[in-house]
Each structure stands twice: as C-alpha cells, then as structure tokens.
C-alpha cells in the first residue's frame, strides 16, 4: 500500500514562490482581485508565508514556510464534511469530489491549517490546463461555490509524475514519495534530518513534513 508524503527542506527553500505559481498554473486555480484579497478570500492552494517573526532590530528572524494542505492521516475536514464530498484515498491523498460538495464550508472551519479556499468565480482562463482533472471529478477548473484545496496533484501522481510544486522548485527543496517504501527519498530525508510537522498537537498527523 502506498502512503504519499511530502518533505520540504527549509534549509534549501529560497522562498521564491515558484511552487505557488506552478500550482496555480497546473491546477487552473482562480486568481484573487484587490477586493477579494482585502476581504481575505484567498485563492491559493499553497503559499509561502512568514510563520514565525521574532527578534528585535538588528537581529530579526523571519522563518518563511511553504505551506499547503497537510494531507493529514487523521483529516478533520473529512470528519466535518456532511456530504462525504471530502474523502481520503487509500494512498493518503485527501480529495474533494466537487459533484458532492455543496459549498457549506464546514471543512474550511474544521481545517486548523487554513488550507482550503472557497471558489468565488468561474471566470475561464486562456491558460487553462485541460489535463488537470483531479480523480473523481469531471472538470479541471475548480467550480464556483465549491471548496478547493491541494490535491498533491493526484492527476499527475496517478500518472507517475510528481506534484507541480515539486517539479517547479528551482531549489529542489521538495521531495515527494511513498512513506511505505523504505528506499524512498522522503524516508531517507525523515531518517537523516530533523523532521517535524506543523502543530502536531492538533492530532491531525500531517503527511507534509519539514526538515531543517
């Protein structure tokens, strides 16, 4: 049985956001506008943000993290969805079936990482990528009034490729692979480096790991 995971090397990461743009490009994620942005209606499946800012001048320390859906082993969003639209595959990838999603956003409230977005627009894009249909869905474009999230690029992974953010990273800061394969790069990194997840106290068992 495959158990997918991602390991992000914070030492290599250059905080350039190529991963974020590659994700939007691959998955046809809609864009924000100045107005929607102001009301904090985010349209990003992944982000690169300052999670910790500490220290006083001249010794500030800003820890910048790439963040995305943690693809939790114990996903609160799945439990919260009244329509069984959000589900976890056997390989651990948490997906949304847009045909079942009613847009109630309980899952968004349940996600402690703020990793889900509500889609406000169905404005088509010329750079629409027709291949990006997440498994179980009929459309490549996240539909209006549904909830959207990172799929680990399941449509690519199922095709033997890696998620778009992994491929695009100019710093090779991201590794993707099978936790059940002792030879996998993700396991090698977890074994050899100081690894952690975000907020383990939530009990969500993230499958996105960070190493320093």
């Amino acid at each position: 049985m495959t158990r997918y995971a991602m390991v992000i090397d914070l030492d290599r990461c250059v905080a350039c956001q190529a991963c974020v743009i590659a994700c939007k490009m691959e998955n046809n994620v809609p864009d924000s506008t100045p107005t929607s942005f102001k009301s904090r209606k985010m349209t990003l499946r992944s982000r690169v943000v300052p999670l910790v800012s500490q220290g006083k001048y001249p010794n500030p320390q800003v820890d910048i993290y790439p963040v995305l859906c943690n693809q939790c082993d114990n996903p609160p969003c799945v439990a919260a969805c009244p329509h069984k639209a959000t589900y976890k595959r056997d390989d651990g990838i948490v997906l949304i079936d847009w045909q079942k999603c009613q847009g109630c956003r309980y899952c968004m409230a349940a996600c402690p990482y703020g990793a889900r977005n509500f889609i406000q627009t169905d404005e088509p894009k010329d750079y629409h990528n027709p291949a990006a249909i997440p498994p179980g869905n009929a459309t490549a474009r996240p539909p209006k009034n549904k909830v959207d999230k990172c799929t680990f690029c399941a449509h690519l992974v199922d095709n033997g490729q890696e998620p778009a953010c992994v491929t695009a990273c100019p710093a090779r800061a991201r590794s993707f692979g099978d936790l059940n394969d002792p030879q996998s790069e993700v396991n090698e990194l977890l074994a050899n480096r100081k690894a952690f997840v975000l907020r383990p106290d939530f009990g969500t068992k993230p499958r996105v790991f960070y190493v320093r």
Binding site: R12, A15, F37, R47, P50, D63, I64
Partner: protein, 812 residues
C-alpha cells in the same frame, strides 16, 4: 558525465544514514529524478513542449512551454541548460499571464487627442501596420531630408541580442542618429566600473556560487534580483545541502530581505557606506597577514615585515605577484582606515568587521557580490564597487574555482551584410549625443539614460523631434520619473513599441503592439553568471501570435525596408540581412546563431528542439586587461582616463567625488551624498526589486500581485512603506497606517509596515508598483517610489542614483 545521471534518490542512499553523512557528500548533482517529458514531440500531436526563453530580466533563461491545442498552458525549466540547472525562477512562470493578458495592446494605435497629460484620454484609434509604418517612415524621412537625422532618438528598454543588433544598432546607424539610448544606466552600470578598475573589463561579473565557500553580498538580495537569478537560486540551494562545505552567506543591506532571511547573517549597514565595510575588512586582512600571497605578492622579508596600522610600507620591501598597487593603496589610504573607522561609518561593530574579515580570508574560496544597493550612489558608488571587488583580489578569489570570474556567453555569427551609411548617416551619427556619453561630465559612461531627459527638456545640444521607444517605460522606472512625462509632452512625435499601454505609451502618438517573449524569434545569452557555465537561449514562437503584433526584429525589418525605398544605403543595410535564410525574424536569428547550431549534429532543428546551447566551463586564467596586465589596487585605467580628459578639481566636484590627488585612483571611503537636507528630511528612501517584479512588466499579472509580499509580510496587491518600529513611533505612525512619504521632489502615499528588519534611518519600498497605466490590475496598485526620487548620477558610469533621496514620513 555518468555522475550527472545519478538521481537524487541514489545520491541520498549513497550518503549513509546519518545527518552528518548528508553533509560530506561528493559531487554536486543536479539531475532531477522527475521524468522529464521530451522537449518537443511531433508537431501534429495536440500536446507538445516547445523550447523558448524568458525576457523577464537580463538572465534570458531557457524554458519549455507545454502547448495543448495551440494554447500555452504550462511553463517549465529547460533540462538542457547547465547554467540554470534546468530550473526557472518564479518570474519566468509569469510569462503565461503576460501572454494571455487581456489588457495587451492588440493593434497599432494612433493618438487623436493632441493634448498630453495623465488626465488626458489619448483617444486611441486603431490603425493598420501599413499605416503605422508609413506614418513613422514619413516623419523619419522628413527629419533625414532636412539633414537632421540626429533629432530622432531611439530608446531601448528590455531587449534581446538580435533586436539590439538590428533595431538599436543597425537601424540607428543606417538612419544616422547617434542617439540610441538604452536603459542600462537605470540598471547596473556602476558594477562594471569596479571590474574595470581591478581587472580591466568594463563588464558584469560571473560569481561561481557552485564552488564557493563564502558569499558576502553588498546591497544585493541575490535570491530576489540579480543576474542570472535562476542560476543564483539553484546554486544557493545546492550550497545549503549536498556539498562538502556549506557556504556561509552574509547579506549587507539596510533592509532585511527574503535573501537576508535565508542567509546566515544580516548586517544592516548605514545606507551608502558599503565600501567602508569592505575597506575596514581589507585593512584587517592585511594587518592580520591573511592575504593570498600567491595572487597578491608578499614582503621580500616576510619574517620581519608586516602591515601595521598607521605605518607606511616601503615599496621596495614588497614583491608583487599577479597584482600591482597594493602598497600604494595601503600608504595612500588603507593604513589609516582600520575597522574602528569602518565601524563609525557603517554602524557595524568593529568586532563584527574584524570577524567578518577573518572569516572571509580563511574560508576560501570566498567571493563578494556587489550591485545596485551599494553602487547606484553618486560619487562614492564607483569606489564602493572597486573596494568590494578588491576584497576578492586580496584573498585570491579572482578567476579561480568558486571565485569571481569574467563572464562570457556564446558568440553569435557576424551579421551577413555590413551596415551601409550615406553622408547623411555619417554626419548625423557623428553629432554629439543627447546623453553626453563619454564626455568630461560622464567620463566612461556608455549611456546616461536619465540625463537624456534633462537635455531634451533643455534642447541640448539640439532639439529632439521624434522618439521611438521599445520596451522602455522611464516615465515609471527612472528616478525623477515625472520629468520623462514632460519630455514626452515636448517631443513632437513619440512612438512606443510595447506589449501594454504603459505610462510611456500614454504620452505617445503612435503605439505599436509588441510580441511577448513566447511569440517571437530572438536569441540571447545571460548577463553575468552564477557558475562556471553560461550559454545561449533561443527564443521561438511557442504559439501563434495572439494579436496583430510585431517583434522588435520585425519592426526593424519593416522600418529598414520602408526607408530603403527612399535611401539606397538603408536598402543596402537591410536587403539580405538574414543571409541565406531570408529577411525575416527567423531568418536573421538563424543566420546569427549559425556559429552555435552548426556544431550540433542535428543543426538548426536540434537547436530549436533543445532551445539552448551551453557554453563552458569557464577557463580560469590570471591574465588581466588592465594597463599593467595585472590585478590593480591602484587603477591605471582610471588614472589614464582622468589624465586624458584633464579632469580638474571642479570636475571632481561635479562627480560628487571628494577625494583629491592619488586617493582618487584607489578604493577609498567617501561618505554618501544625499538629496535633501537631513533636518527637513531625516530618513533615506531605499528601494528593492521584488522577486516577482519583471523589471516592472509583471504588474498586471494577478499571480505576481497576489503573491507580491507574501514571504516576508504575508500580503499582496500592494507595496509598502517599510519602517523600523522605533522610527514609526518617533513619527507617530502605526502599522497599516496610510502614510505620506515626501521628498524635495514630491510626495506619494503608501501603506506603512513596521518591521524589525529595517534600518532605523530608512524607509524601504519595493520598486514595480504604483502604475497609473499598464492595465487594470497594475493601475492604482501600490505607490511608485521613483516618482519622488531626486536626480543624481554616479558620473563615471552614468548610472542613475537610486538610494540617496532623503524623505520624511507622516500619517496621511
């Protein structure tokens, strides 16, 4: 070559199971285990990958575009390129939204409202290309037939090597104007001067980040903007993990940038004093006896002689190796500039400067990076550049693995036919230029972009009656940008070739729609370097051009052919310019890149499929092109230049250079020169180039906008007036307040952001926002700091000063 085929997975497996194992690995490997699709597949297939390039900066990185049913849907790195490691920086990805931006100029436009101003609607009317070219040609003809071709100015912004030669070069020369003015002196000209004094090349540098063990960067957040960005990102990351030694990275900058956040140490230097830090380090390296004897030389009696602070060294006691002038430099300046003096100037503690000097000298190869933040300063900018460069010489990091090298990309084939000039062209081309290039006022400048504005306004040395600008927007990007609005009001006929209706277009009489990078033919090699590899990128159309557009090469061909109908010499200059491959953009590009593709087994087709050729690796040699043919700590080039021009003390005053005598020719410290008095304007406005800022051209892409300031500030669709909390308290400003930032020149309104990563005497703002045109997303987003900057120059190179305007802030 087999090494490069080991996947990253194998690499980690081979490393053993401990973290320490990871740190002591052998060769640097960059092959991505990802299954890369072939660069191209059969043209008939509905889905294919096409190689082309990015024109987002002077890196000209190769890329691949996935095209499905004739639409570009994805941009990825080109695995054939060694100098980008097959990767791309985030800016290159924005090209998809630039290509498909609905706000692009789609047809040639003619202005029908003769009044020009920010609030004047130009009342554009669409015209055909035939009409546009005929209109432009008839104006050009009018000037030429009057015997005043020099009154036509050709302004160049971002470019590729092909159009630089054909439009900026060939067309300008054949027509007969000396006034081909590029944007370069708004970019990084001063960086060339440090190189020219020390090693003799007036050029950018290549930094071998892949093999260096210490990176000390002065005023350059190189993960965000330097050249070539992709190579720097990739090499930096490989250095963090996967090499035997983890290079230490130190960022000297009044602002804590993303690069500073990712570095090992940040040193918030007083603005404009970077050179003092380098000089204090140099003093420490010499007194501590840590210089590289093999490169620099040594005392004839090393056991009994040394550099002692304040004490003169006798020249006859010293023996040079590959350098000259060290003892002169010591005696003229350095002996009296110990770290304690440097500490006073820079605000960096004396102990820190000493530690830095020792680290830099013993962690070899160590390299310094210099750039706009330390160099785009009047007077002392060029000495900062020289001082920072010479640190590399002291520790023997010049032209070595892991050091600072001469950069070179591939060579193009010569143009198939020579440029013909009739008497009109020769006379016009021989007239003095409007920017005063290489005059006594700007002694070594190739171009003084910003000075053209003031001279056009003064009709000096003669009036400019027509201008053609391409891919430039100095009404937005130059310090004192509003002056350029007056320039464009004054010039009777202004043509702009552009992808978007920019601030420059809004003052133009005819606007010509340009092709984006993904729609045109061109070729370029990267400026600067981040490793020992360089190369050339081929630009080719990845999709059918979306609109009725021409590329710059096509514009040159159209103008050349049209004017060729009237002037035999221009006809001669353009007929057959593509050689055997035809007078088209593709033909010209093919002819000029022949030297590169004829070496490939598959020739031109293989070049098109691969999209790039690698050039390298760089061959190190301690041979320099200075007058002494050695590395110079006392600049023979500068001394000869000033002697030839008979530079007087009054001239030095004009250059804002305070030194006199021999001090002028050595790296030395001069306090920075500011615009505005400190009593009325207590703070200094510094700007930076955001990661997602394609030289100002990405402002209409939602991708850039919504991510603009995310990594440090978690926000987008804006730029901010970034200030230290202590400074903010002093002026009654709170985080998120709307504040007025005011200089002698003007006032802008911005959102305040309090940050512990800002020097208390500065206000920092990102360049690239505050458009009042350029498209619906760009317009009105953020504020443009260039509008309130005063105008000064680093006179030797003509570079515009960008960091020396004093401002005050208050709650708006």
């Amino acid at each position: 070559m087999k090494k490069n085929k080991i996947t990253r997975r194998d690499f980690i497996k081979a490393s053993g199971t401990t973290a320490a194992g990871l740190m002591v690995l052998g060769p640097t490997l960059w092959t991505n285990p990802q299954k890369e699709p072939a660069t191209t597949v059969a043209a008939e297939a509905p889905e294919k990958w096409v190689a082309s390039g990015c024109n987002g900066c002077v890196g000209w990185c190769p890329l691949r575009v996935k095209v499905v049913d004739g639409k570009a849907v994805k941009i990825a790195g080109n695995p054939n390129s060694k100098w980008t490691r097959g990767k791309l920086c985030p800016r290159a990805l924005l090209n998809l939204q630039i290509l498909y931006d609905p706000d692009r100029v789609k047809k040639p436009l003619k202005r029908t409202n003769p009044n020009k101003g920010r609030n004047e609607d130009p009342k554009w009317v669409e015209i055909t290309w035939d009409e546009a070219i005929a209109t432009i040609a008839s104006k050009l003809k009018e000037l030429r037939d009057r015997g005043t071709p020099e009154r036509f100015a050709l302004f160049r912004g971002r470019y590729g090597a092909m159009d630089a030669d054909l439009l900026y070069g060939r067309f300008g020369k054949a027509y007969g104007t000396p006034n081909t003015i590029s944007h370069s002196a708004l970019c990084a000209e001063t960086t060339k001067s440090g190189n020219w004094y020390a090693r003799g090349n007036y050029a950018y540098s290549a930094f071998d980040f892949e093999d260096t063990n210490y990176i000390l960067s002065f005023g350059v957040p190189f993960l965000e903007s330097h050249r070539p960005t992709t190579g720097m990102l990739a090499a930096f990351a490989e250095g963090r993990r996967g090499r035997a030694v983890r290079p230490k990275v130190v960022i000297v900058d009044p602002r804590y940038s993303v690069t500073a956040a990712r570095a090992d140490e940040w040193l918030p230097v007083n603005p404009g004093t970077d050179g003092a830090l380098a000089l204090g380090m140099a003093h420490e390296i010499l007194t501590a006896g840590l210089w590289d004897r093999r490169f620099v030389g040594d005392f004839k009696d090393p056991a009994n002689k040394k550099f002692v602070a304040g004490q003169v060294v006798a020249e006859e006691d010293w023996l040079d190796a590959y350098s000259v002038g060290l003892v002169k430099w010591w005696n003229i300046f350095l002996k009296d500039f110990p770290p304690a003096e440097a500490a006073k100037a820079t605000g960096i503690a004396e102990a820190t400067i000493k530690r830095l000097a020792r680290e830099f000298a013993i962690t070899r190869p160590a390299v310094t990076v210099r750039g706009r933040g330390s160099e785009a300063w009047p007077g002392n900018g060029t000495y900062n550049s020289y001082a920072i460069y010479t640190l590399n010489g002291l520790v023997g990091s010049v032209d070595v693995k892991g050091g600072i090298n001469h950069y070179s990309s591939g060579s193009f084939s010569p143009e198939p036919i020579p440029i013909a000039q009739d008497d009109t062209a020769k006379t016009g081309g021989g007239k003095p230029r409007i920017d005063e290039k290489k005059t006594k006022k700007f002694p070594y400048a190739d171009v003084i972009t910003n000075n053209a504005a003031d001279n056009i306004l003064k009709d000096y040395p003669y009036p400019i009656e027509m201008a053609l600008g391409y891919w430039n927007n100095w009404t937005f990007s130059a310090p004192g940008s509003k002056r350029w609005e007056e320039v464009l009001k004054k010039i009777p006929f202004v043509v702009h070739h552009t992808t978007h209706l920019s601030e420059w277009s809004m003052y133009s009489d005819v606007v010509l729609p340009a092709k984006t990078y993904l729609e045109k033919w061109d070729a370029s090699g990267p400026g600067g370097g981040a490793s020992t590899w360089s190369g050339v990128t081929l630009f080719q159309p990845v999709v059918e051009p979306l609109y009725d557009t021409k590329s710059e090469v096509e514009l040159a061909l159209a103008l050349g052919k049209k004017l060729g109908e009237s002037y035999p010499s221009i006809k001669q200059s353009f007929d057959g310019v593509g050689g055997p491959y035809g007078d088209t953009a593709e033909g010209y590009t093919k002819a000029r890149t022949k030297a590169l593709w004829e070496k490939l087994p598959g020739g031109w087709d293989e070049f098109r499929e691969k999209g790039t050729v690698n050039v390298g690796p760089y061959k190190f040699k301690w041979e320099f092109s200075t007058p002494s043919k050695k590395f110079e700590f006392y600049s023979g080039n500068l001394k000869k230049l000033f002697a030839d021009l008979k530079v007087t003390d009054a001239d030095l005053d004009t250059y804002h250079i305070k030194a006199r005598g021999d001090l002028v020719y050595v790296p030395h410290y001069e306090p920075p020169t500011f615009i505005g008095d400190a009593a009325s304007f207590p703070l200094v406005l510094i700007t930076y180039k955001n990661q997602l800022n394609q030289e100002g051209r990405s402002a209409n892409t939602p991708w850039a906008q919504e991510l603009y300031l995310n990594p440090l500030y978690g926000t987008g669709w804006n730029n901010l007036a970034e200030i230290n909390p202590e400074t903010a308290r002093k002026y009654g400003v709170a985080d998120g307040d709307t504040v007025s930032v005011e200089s002698e020149v003007g006032r802008i309104v911005a959102t305040a952001r309090l940050s512990e990563g800002i020097h208390p005497t500065v206000v920092a703002m990102s360049y690239g926002q505050g458009h009042w045109a350029y498209g619906k997303w760009a317009k009105g987003t953020g504020a443009n700091p260039n509008e309130i900057m005063g105008v000064m120059y680093e006179h030797i190179t003509g570079m515009a000063a960008y960091f020396n305007t004093r401002v005050r802030i208050s709650k708006a």
